[in-house]
Symmetry: C2
């Protein structure tokens, strides 16, 4: 089980944004340098963060991004979800009639994975961007 770089980067970048807040917006170049993440990759990630209303952008020279909401109101689950990192422990389609074994009943472990999902989602729901400073 793993969490991919995209999700990690997204959280790192958001944390960077939160903790390096200044007057104007923060450019991806800055974040790229501080966090050692490829600029082009960051751009892709921020596109999604923006579409999910987690950051606001300003274009042009001196442009960049700022958090759309206070760090205390942004849950990690929001970030993870925004970049398509799904918590996906189930094998079968959630709403399919068929189980992962292709039979009409759910497999013996189905409920287990379902519970694990809840467990992990719970974690991401509980932690706010703001908490990262305390953790770190």
């Amino acid at each position: 089980m793993k969490l991919t770089n995209k999700g990690r980067y997204a959280v790192m970048a958001m944390a960077d944004l939160a903790s390096n807040a200044k007057d104007g917006p923060i450019s991806l170049t800055e974040i790229s340098l501080r966090q050692n993440i490829s600029l082009a990759y960051l751009e892709q990630i921020f596109l999604k963060l923006k579409n999910n209303k987690l950051v606001r952008s300003s274009r042009g020279a001196n442009g960049g991004y700022v958090l759309e909401k206070p760090a205390s109101e942004i849950k990690l689950s929001n970030i993870i979800y925004a970049v398509d990192e799904e918590v996906k422990t189930l094998n079968c389609k959630k709403n399919s009639k068929r189980g992962c074994n292709n039979k009409s009943t759910k497999c013996i472990t189905h409920n287990l994975w379902d519970q694990l999902d809840q467990h992990i989602i719970g974690f991401f729901e509980k932690v706010k961007l703001q908490d990262l400073a305390k953790l770190g």
Copy 2:
């Protein structure tokens, strides 16, 4: 974030073993049919389960596998660990001096992922093979 088939299969197969216990050992062919998992793939998985002392094998005709310990004493973490499904949320090497950002300090999110690890491992530690019957 996802859990891979190998881990799922391992748990399924162990659960199958536990709930279909009979007099003699259970062959992989049986499990393969019941759980709809390729036989050759199951063989690979059971090799690991055996090396980790979770099952015992008997070879030859009518051979197969039995649980090495009662289902109440087998933790899911044992199974997951046996088949190399690691809970791996950290990016950096656990014992490396360098962070995932290749700097000498840990990145802002390091502790977060560390906590998530603990959270997930905790789940797997808590659930026993036996509990699967109740969940299912």
